[in-house]
Amino acid sequence: MMNFIRKHLYYINYFFSSVLMQVKQSMMYRNNFFIMIFVSLLGVSTGPIFQFLLFSQTRGYPGWTLDQIVFLQGMVLLITGVYATLVGSAKEVFIRYCHLGELDRLLLKPVYSLYFIFAEGFTITNIGSVAAGIVIVAISAIRLNINLTPVTVLLFIACLLASFLFSLALDILFFCITVFFIDTNRIIFVFTALRRFSNYPLELFSLAGQILLVTILPLSIIVYFPTQVLLNQSGLFLYIAAGSSVLWFVLVIFLWNITIKRYVNAGG
């Protein structure tokens, strides 16, 4: 048990060292650092801005009010922002590891390689999205008069954990694909396109689409269900999506263990 705790403390310590190093690196070009914070905010805001314009100039989406849509878009900025800040550039890190042959060195170390890859994925400049998300969520939560009970808070935390597990599962799946395909700079676009499903209310999709997004590919767990929990509108689908996310994570870890055994150096 002590060994287990010590091992995980070491990984947490490594994560914070990595964070500190990357903050220092980012501050080398201070002007560019602040521009990049603005860039990250601008980059993730275009989708929510369009949805706001679309909603405010039409009757909107079935079952959603304007305030609820603003709340959902605030959650998009907040949840995707937090994930992008913590491990946002892990995919680019892994591509670099593979291309430069650095993965070989990492695999020789007596540590679990995924921890190291994700620890280096920390991207401080995505903090802009988190800040904007907090402001939008706080304002719209007041307007919607959201009541937080202990049960709601616990359910929300569980939902966020499932959301992060599924996001991690998608990233690990990308790592596995990179080992097989080598050049995956463009495959990132497929994953980015897939993640766009999580930015919209589930009600927009056909019944078949909704079932798909809850069961086989539970992208709805990333933002939609955490938002629904806070709006007190969650149902059975939430538990199915959360269960599916955990299953995805377990299966992808299994796939990763197989993939890494078959890994052949492609770098120079």
Partner: protein
């Protein structure tokens, strides 16, 4: 010309080196299509209307496809390539070649766009056309669209090259590259139809180059009523040409002033 052709071939080979990876990329377009199709079908049905901001459901869905076509025709990495070369010092090698650095970038752009035509644009067109047939298209519309899309490609190339050259003065300009990319798409109608923005703001955009990069070529593709007038087409093409001349002059001035003060220390 021979050197340019060799550069073009080299780039082409590099791009299709990993074929399997290349084909997986094709899956991103059906995903985007499915999202847009779902959103707008539900929105039009729920609003019980045939037109939103003057666009029918078919035109609204095709708007995003047409914006993607223009983006695929014009997209280039001139800014990133040039700024990386300036910062790393490898620009020195390019300056010793018998072709200009702009010509090298042109060869890269051609290679990228030709591959993109067959692997991205045509499959994208077929996907959308099979699902929602573009009844508004005819040969004359396609020809007008191609002319404006090519004008957009030239404008975009100079614009991105100028942004890349700013690395001579800013040292680290990654942030500027991404900001400019987002702003060009946002203000040019690459992300969504500009009719959703306030009318006064839209009028202001007439005096900026961005609208002529995405919005107008897309309007001609959708065969919107105002685009049927030949004089209107010539007017938009003329404005594109004026912006190309302006960008070319800025590009020349920047190149001249930066080359005067450029000093390579690598070896």
């Amino acid at each position: 010309m021979t050197s340019l052709l060799a550069l073009f071939q080299l780039r082409l080979k590099g791009m299709i080196q990993y074929k399997a990876s290349f084909f997986v990329t094709l899956f991103s377009q059906p995903i985007v299509f499915f999202i847009n199709y779902s959103i707008f079908t539900t929105l039009y049905q729920y609003n019980n209307t045939t037109q939103i901001k003057g666009y029918s459901l078919e035109q609204m869905i095709w708007y995003f496809a047409a914006a993607m076509f223009v983006s695929k025709v014009s997209f280039n990495y001139a800014d990133t390539n040039i700024s990386e070369k300036i910062i790393s010092g490898s620009l020195l090698y390019d300056l010793t070649r018998p072709v200009s650095i702009a010509a090298i970038e042109v060869a890269h752009v051609f290679a990228h766009r030709i591959v993109s035509l067959f692997t991205e644009m045509l499959p994208l067109f077929v996907l959308y056309a099979v699902w929602i047939f573009p009844v508004f298209l005819d040969l004359w519309v396609i020809m007008k669209f191609i002319c404006l899309a090519l004008g957009c490609a030239v404008m975009y190339f100079f614009l991105r090259f100028i942004i890349g050259l700013l690395a001579f003065y800013l040292k680290e300009n990654k942030g500027l590259i991404v900001i400019s990319n987002i702003l060009i798409n946002f203000l040019g109608g690459g992300f969504f139809p500009l009719e959703f923005l306030p009318a006064e703001f839209n009028d202001l955009l007439d005096y900026l180059p961005f609208k002529y990069l995405f919005y107008w070529p897309v309007q001609f593709f959708l065969n919107r009523p105002q685009t049927n007038d030949i004089w209107f087409f010539l007017r938009i093409l003329g404005i594109q040409c004026i912006w190309i001349v302006i960008f070319y002059v800025i590009f020349k001035v920047l190149m001249k002033s930066s080359m005067k003060s450029y000093c390579g220390a690598g070896g």
